[in-house]
Symmetry: C3
Subunit: 159 residues, 3 copies
């Protein structure tokens, strides 16, 4: 029997367009029966925040300030031509018009497909984010060593 194909995605970016790419790749792979692990670190953690908008998560003024500035998934900026957050909204409109799954729909699909959503322990320490601040679908908070274990014989991409 052939071994199951594996894909590991390190979701470092919190950009709207890169999140689209990450979740499209992830759900596409899961749909053709690959095992998919998504490891959210740094700005990527914003994509999984439970509270919408800009919440002062974290202990200490700096962590709280960073979290307000970064915001959650609905505040994810386009990596270029963001125009103060207008572009992601326009682009979501273009996606709906063209019957392409929106970011929200892709995240829901990822959960429905059983993709393993994992949060990076170290980045959470730095940014003062706790597991209770993240989406319930995040099953684990792990370090690099565990992530590498999950990624044995996988193809790993950094987004």
């Amino acid at each position: 029997m052939e071994q199951k194909k594996k894909l590991s995605i390190i979701c470092f970016s919190g950009d709207f367009d890169k999140a689209l790419a990450a979740f499209t790749l992830a759900t596409g792979a899961a749909a053709v029966n690959w095992e998919v692990n998504m490891f959210f670190t740094f700005w990527g953690l914003n994509l999984l925040k439970k509270k919408k908008g800009r919440s002062p998560i974290g202990n200490g003024l700096l962590a709280r300030l960073f979290n307000v500035l970064m915001g959650a998934r609905d505040k994810a900026p386009l990596s270029r031509l963001n125009f103060g957050g207008v572009s992601p909204k326009l682009m979501t409109g273009m996606m709906k018009k063209n019957n392409v799954a929106t970011l929200e729909e892709l995240v829901d699909s990822a959960k429905a497909l059983g993709i393993n959503l994992i949060a990076c322990e170290m980045a959470m320490h730095i940014l003062g984010i706790q597991q209770k601040d993240l989406d319930e679908a995040v099953r684990e908070v792990i370090g690099v060593a565990t992530f590498l274990e999950y990624s044995q014989d996988a193809q790993t991409v950094f987004i």
Copy 2:
């Protein structure tokens, strides 16, 4: 007989410097006989637009506006220190002076080496880009599932 090494590059970025990196890696791998697939999505599609400059490609005002703003390969910005598009031109000069292949030469090499240039169906839908708007060398417009099939047993990088 050993299996042919495979490299898949997801060309997400339309930045000048990242395009240089992508095509250098791709042509380098093809030159030592790896099978190379380059999958252009999102901003990366700009690198393959047939028309130079800033064309109002697409249906609908928004798609046309985005395509004008993004421009084609000759308008690709540097990811940092772009200075309104001056830097890519300066850098091309520095490359010529140092006998390093320019972006145009690398793209030509990629075609000559038979690298598979593929466009992402979904991104084309969102941005209103059609295959006729892209370089003739783009052989296929495919979705994620097909890309993953091409990338079995490959090393995949996201640029």
Copy 3:
């Protein structure tokens, strides 16, 4: 006997946060006995400059100007919310407060763990950087073909 796991990291970015990610991944992998190659190209070369700050490295006005503007590791900007270089300093403070290894400590660990730090020949030509300008720990200056040879049967990520 099982083959040693291999990780190749193309360090293209010179951003502070991406450098943190690259060195965390690299040292984490080396700590669990993976063979790790880090290939520094383009902005990533700034992370290995011997001289701190902003030095006019290179031949010719343009190369010197670019190197001054880019600076060395201590001038690495955050990829978002950099605020003129204040954020990396604040973040280093947050890392110390939370007992997370700083970038400097991670680079030292990478050297101590025997990670192979390699510089990209082509990028050095373009930017006028010579091996004497880089950290003594950089063992080799190589091209893409050699890098691919080192990366056979590795997982390769582009950061």
